[in-house]
Structures are given as structure tokens and as C-alpha cells.
Symmetry: C2
Subunit: 452 residues, 2 copies
């Protein structure tokens, strides 16, 4: 249990959160029943992770990742829950499945990421699936053994398209034809042709979950509805769990076009924030976070306290905001209310990241950054991870203890808010399913297709 840390929560301005937590705890039966009914209407994504920010007066998701890459950072104690949840998902997706293909990110030299892949493979194998790893990377042209730091070995194989089926292996050595294809690749480089037009085989999460289609603003639009309904259920101001946002669709930081849209949205979000701060007596200085509407890895993120800041970006800042990952150009941005974190681990700013499989919270960790402030993006080089003490707590709040004193209670609330984001993701994916067909192959995808 020594790896489970209950972090110190700054006591400044925890008043309203204590009320929020107490409300969430008091409403547990109603909340759990509400989720049960929601999951009858909406199918949860196979997995996801949510970045939360706990400002004391507010507890809200600021990002939702549908290709979570940090399973290795979760406490081992939560693995049985993950296996159980994965089992539920597999039961629904293809109950008689024998084979599953996992498609990881291309960068198969990154030990941290590979440890995540190994952990995922371990979880999936425990559900009774034969799991093989197929890579989109150009340099994987034959089965390749990768040795992890802990001595574990993974075999990464080139993907093989066999008519309408995707798999690995060869006709000679036996074609491995999976029932389901699990993406742990966020498709920042576009939807590869090899993944299109598959018959029968089910891609999870669906292709529109990839950044070729997905937009953060679609997610938070869906979250608006979820937060509104949930806030009604437990009778709170939805703003306590929901950050304001705006979006701009035609931005080119290099060419300085679209700046005015960004500036206007910054003003709009800051104005609404100031109203709420006044209403609830909050004395912080409002700020917004400008980030790529499609993208991940904490790249292309900027903290802004005044609209004028985006009008005077220097070349370096423009470059930083222009590209996220695998050369994906930023042309759409989301302007999101900044939620400062009031949490610290050993004096360093920290934010909880909650992991879910199917509809279940399966663990989490604190993302900690020793040189960044409470109003900055912590998803940056230099961050480290501390497992959350979710194992005994997240599904099981200690209802006897008063809120605020008790880590389990706070973590139950974290699990609830994270599941709201998961539900929003489910609704988001339903509403964007058709867009997969509209997405042209990106230049990177075309390059891959040609190389392949």
C-alpha cells in the first residue's frame, strides 16, 4: 500500500467543494441509479481517462482521452476491477471472441508507453482473449520482439489486410483474424486506409474517437448537456462541475488569421467566469486555456489571462501552438475556462487523472509537476505520476466520515465527475459517427498508405 498516496489538499476555498462533495455523497443511490439508466441509453467507450481539476470551489473535467496511455501508472490493486470491466465490455462487443488485436501508437521505442501496452495486454488476456499487437509503424515490417525494462517481452507485428479483414500473421503461418480491434492509437495522423471498410470486425473505440474526426469542443458540448442534467439531479449550479468554453474553426497561428475569433472567445469566457466568480465570492484571477481542438499530449496549449495576449504572440509561441502531434496542423482551437488546481503532492501542483474501462472507474493517479503552477498545464515534460488511493475507495465512499476529511469521499466524487465525462464521450461518439466518412486521408495517412 506504500505506493498509494493521499495527497494534501490545500484548505483555502475548500468550502464550496465540501458542500459539493457532501451533496454527491448524500445522493449516491440516486447518482448510481441515474448512471445505470444512462448506460442503458448510451454505450460507454471501451476505455478512457479524464483529467480533472479541483479548484476547491469547483471540480471539473478539463480533458477526456479515449486512448488512455498510462495504465502502467495505476495501482496493481485495481487490476482485478479492470479485468472485470473489460470482461463486461467484451461480452457486449463480441461475446464469443477468441482473438483481439491491439493497435498501439507508432512510437514503439518508448519504454513508458510500451509498459502501458504490456499492462493493457495483461488485462485483456485475463478476460480470456488471445491478444496480439499490430503496428501502424512503417518500420515494423516483420514480427519484432521488444524487451521492456522489467524484462517482459512484447511482440509487435505488422498489420495485414486480408480482403475485408484486418489481422496479423500470414496465410502461411496462420492469419490471426480478430473479432475486435482495440485502438490505443489516437489517429492523430488521420484514419489509415488499412482501418477503413472493415467487414464484421469491430473497431473500439470507433474511428470517430480518433483525432482525425474528434474535437474537444464536441466533447464539451455533449458534456454541457450531461452536466446540466446531473446538476439538476443533485440540485447544484452546473458551473461547479463544468468549465465554460468557446471554439474557433479557422485559425492559422503562422499566418495570424483567426486571431480575432480567439480573442473574442477569450473575452466571452472570461466575462462569464467573472460573473460566476462574483456570484460565488471567488477572488482568483480568471484565466482561460487555449488549446488545439483536435489533439493530445498537452501540446498546443496556452494559458491566457487577457485577450490581448493572443494578439501579440511571438514566432516561438506561434510555432508551439501550430502543431500538436505527428505533424497535425492546428486550425481549430478550443478556448476553455481555466480551473486552477488546489491540489498538491509534496508541495508540487497536481491534478487527478481518472481511468475507466467500460463504465467502471479502474484507478487513477496524480499528474504532478514540480516546476509548474496551479494554473498551468501539467501535462508537460518533467511531470511524474503518483497512483491514487482508489483501490479501497472509489466505488466505496466511507459514508460515515465527514466530507473533506476523508480521501475516499473525495475520490468517490472524482469517480462520479469522471464518469460524467465518460458519458459525455459516449454521447459525443454517437453524434459524430457519420463524420468518419467525411474525413479525407491526411497527408500523413496518405504517406503511410503509399509506404505500406
Amino acid at each position: 500500500m506504500s505506493d498509494l498516496v493521499v495527497p494534501h489538499l490545500l484548505t483555502a476555498q475548500t468550502g464550496p467543494l465540501l458542500q459539493l462533495e457532501q451533496r454527491i455523497l448524500d445522493s449516491l443511490p440516486a447518482i448510481e441509479r441515474w448512471f445505470r439508466l444512462q448506460w442503458q441509453e448510451h454505450t460507454p467507450p471501451f476505455y478512457g481517462s479524464v483529467d480533472l481539476r479541483n479548484a476547491g470551489y469547483k471540480l471539473a473535467p478539463v480533458d477526456m482521452n479515449l486512448f488512455p496511455g498510462g495504465f502502467n501508472n495505476l495501482s496493481e490493486l485495481m487490476l482485478p476491477a479492470a479485468v472485470q470491466a473489460a470482461q463486461s465490455a467484451i461480452d457486449r462487443i463480441c461475446p464469443d471472441a477468441r482473438n483481439l488485436l491491439l493497435i498501439p501508437e507508432r512510437h514503439t521505442r518508448n519504454q513508458f508507453y510500451l509498459t502501458n501496452v504490456a499492462r493493457l495486454v495483461r488485462i485483456l488476456r485475463q478476460t480470456g482473449l488471445e491478444v496480439r499487437i499490430g503496428s501502424l509503424a512503417d518500420d515494423v515490417t516483420q514480427p519484432t520482439q521488444v524487451v521492456l525494462d522489467d524484462g517482459e517481452e512484447l511482440t509487435v507485428e505488422p498489420l495485414v489486410r486480408n480482403g475485408d479483414y484486418l489481422g496479423v500473421g500470414s496465410a502461411a503461418g496462420g492469419f490471426f483474424q480478430p473479432c475486435a480491434i482495440l485502438l490505443n492509437n489516437d489517429l492523430s495522423a488521420g484514419i489509415p486506409p488499412i482501418l477503413r471498410g472493415l467487414d464484421d470486425q469491430i473497431v473500439i473505440p470507433p474511428l470517430q474517437a480518433g483525432w482525425a474526426v474528434r474535437r474537444k469542443s464536441n466533447h464539451f458540448a455533449a458534456y454541457d448537456g450531461v452536466a446540466e442534467e446531473f446538476a439538476g439531479l443533485i440540485d447544484i449550479d452546473p458551473w461547479f462541475i463544468n468549465p465554460y468554453f468557446g471554439r474557433c474553426g479557422e485559425v492559422n497561428f503562422h499566418e495570424r488569421s483567426g486571431e480575432e475569433c480567439v480573442a473574442t472567445n477569450i473575452d466571452f469566457v472570461l466575462d462569464r467566469m467573472r460573473d460566476k466568480y462574483r456570484e460565488h465570492g471567488i477572488t482568483d484571477t480568471p484565466y482561460v486555456v487555449v488549446k488545439a481542438d483536435a489533439g493530445t499530449y498537452g501540446m498546443g496549449v496556452m494559458t491566457v489571462r487577457d485577450a490581448s495576449e493572443v494578439r501579440g504572440l511571438n514566432r516561438k509561441q506561434r510555432n508551439k501552438m501550430s502543431v500538436v502531434k505527428e505533424g497535425l496542423e492546428v486550425s481549430e482551437v478550443i478556448i476553455q475556462e481555466g480551473v486552477p488546481t488546489r491540489e498538491e503532492v509534496n508541495g508540487a501542483a497536481a491534478e487527478p487523472v481518472v481511468y475507466m474501462v467500460d463504465r467502471t472507474v479502474v484507478g487513477g493517479f496524480y499528474r504532478v509537476h514540480t516546476t509548474r503552477g496551479r494554473d498551468e498545464n501539467l501535462n508537460a515534460p518533467g511531470m511524474h505520476f503518483v497512483p491514487l488511493a482508489f483501490s479501497e475507495s472509489c466505488n466505496l465512499p466511507d459514508c460515515g466520515a465527514p466530507a473533506g476529511d476523508s480521501a475516499p469521499n473525495r475520490f468517490y466524487a472524482y469517480g462520479v465527475i469522471a464518469r460524467l465525462a465518460l458519458l459525455a464521450a459516449a454521447i459525443e461518439l454517437e453524434s459524430t459517427a457519420e463524420r468518419v466518412h467525411d474525413v479525407p486521408m491526411s497527408s500523413a495517412a496518405i504517406a503511410t498508405a503509399i509506404a505500406g
Copy 2:
């Protein structure tokens, strides 16, 4: 973690079990997939606990309880898994359920048992259900507060029948009408009229799971088929996981009638055991256990090494064998191959008890008895319980470690065998559903009905 003990396993004759364990571990994907397919055909009981015996050369269930009463003995670490599993069951049984009624055993003064009830209530409430406790006890005529040793309070209410619906509360104070009625009462006293003829409401487990209908021999007949198929799947002698048994339907120990049937079955089982012992080079002295075919609590149980022993029972032994619980007369007995336990906790004989909710292993403990031998019934006054270290292990064998050295591996095997018994229970309940209508009210039930 200090409450989790990995017991010392005697090394004598562990050879064949090591092979069995290794076989089970090697077959994990096939086993888990097989279970997944089985659970598509058969609905698991809501919950159950299985008494296992590990003889070194053999690992087998010797009893399956469909009204488990020791949830308080499980490690707290396993509670999230139990909640998750209960959630799955509720989703299937009545997904929009708001209310659940729990009917416990009548003896509402037993602190140990009440702690079990409290734990069950806690698990169920976490799934989002409002849970109330309705008692069949005659002396519960109004809502009664019961204070547990740890200070927790439970309210036990009299059952109320409202037309075709069962609930608690009154028309004036609000009738609590549950969607599902969870029995934690094994119905040894018969099926109470108040539980019969319910419309819409679902009784879980179904009434035929109670000892008014249930017979151990039906369970082990179903287990024969399950063990046979499973043994085929992993290519082992089914005897390694299945104890022989026989039954006698017309026994009256007081009147010494039916003794010959019991003696003949003892000889039959001992003969078959001797053959297997020879085949596998086992030097133990075979013994059988004679027990009530309907019943629980370790009452009415006798260890026999020779058929002549049942022909010479004294009055005290006859009395002991005649009655199990709540005055239920023993007239049917099962004669079961004795599986000696080779496990010890602190030098005392121990047997694992594995708990399941829905299809999931949610924990377990060792039943330990300091004054009983490895070939005796440990379910007797003087026993105590030591939680099993299932939390990190049972779903997640440590596949790298060699079998035998590793507690997780042994516990994975325990979880597999326990789930085989659970599957047998599912099949047993399907085949005995019709018998509920044939069961006359027992005298105790009639007495209760009159008193009520």
C-alpha cells in the same frame, strides 16, 4: 495488507496439484473464454460461496452455498469488485430498479451474521439501490433498530404482503415495493407462503435455491457434467476436480431405516476411490462424508472410513445426524468422497471458502479449526476465519512465477474451481425450477404462516 495471510501449504503430495495448477494457468485464455460462453447459456446465481478442499493431488468443491453468510469475512480490498459484480447482476435482473428488499436469516441477534448483512447492504447500496431489510422472524412486528458491535445500525422491518406484492412499511408511512427480493435466508424451514405467488417481483436466488427444494446431490450431479466438460477442455482426469458421491432418499436415523442404502453407497464410493488412489499412487486412507442432502451449517455431517460405522450408530450420533437447522428432519443423505485438506494456517487445518457475486470471484477466506483434523468437517463451533489474499491475485495470476511457489497462482486455480461449482449451481437451478410448486409447506412454515 496485514490481514491477508498466505497460508503454508503442506508440501507432501503436492506434485499432481502442481501439474493441475500449471495446466489451469497454461489454459487461462481457453478457460476464461469457456466461462464467457457458458455464462451466455446459463445465468449465474446472484451470489454464492464454495467450500474447497485441496488435497494436494486433488482440488475440489465439497459444498456450494447459495445464501452466503460470511461477506464480513472478506478483505475490504475486494469490495469494489463485489459492487461491480452486483451492478452487473442488477443490470440483468431489473435494470431500472430503485428498491431492493433483503430477507436475512431469522436469527437477528447474532452479531456475526448481522455484520454480514450490514456488509451486503453496503455493497448493494453502492450499486444505487435503496435497500431495506425485511424479516421472516415472528418477533419482528415493527421496525427494529439493531446496533452492531462496531456501532453501525441496521433497521429490520416486518415483511408486508400487499396483494401480489411483497415489501416493508405501511400504506400510511409509504409501502416500500422492491423490484427484486434478495434472499439471504436459505429457507430451511420451507417456503413461507408470503414469498409465494409474487407478481412481477423477482426473487433472487430463486425459491428452488432454498433447502426446501434444493438437494446437494442435484448440485453435484450438475457438477459432474461441468467437471467432465472442463476436464476435457484442459485435458485432465475429471476426478482431480470432482469428488464421487451417492445418495439415499429414504433414511430415518432414529428408526434405523435406510441404513442399508447408506452403507451400500459408502462401499460404492470407497471402492471407486480406492481404484483412483491406486491409479494415481495415493497412499491416504479413503473416507467418505455422510451429510444431509438438504441442509447447511455443517450440521448432520459424519466422517466414515467403513460402511460398518453407519450400522452401529449410538443414540447421540443418530440425534446429531437427524436434524440440521430450524427442525428440518434429515431423510435424504448424500455420501460424498472425502477430500482431506492439506492446507494449514498456523498449524491448524484450513479449507478455502471462495465468494462470488454474479460471475465474479469477490474474495474468500480460510475456514480454520484448531482442534479438527484434515479429514474432518471444519464447519463446526470453534472455527475461525482468515481472509484470503485474493485481492491482488484471484483474477490475475502471476503467470511468470512457477506454479506452487506462488500464492496468486494457487488462488487463480481456486477461483476457477469455485466458478465451476457456480456454473453447476446455475444448471442445477434451471433443472429444479419446476419443483417449487411441488413443495408442500413444511410444518415449520405452516407454523410460521399461522403465527404470522
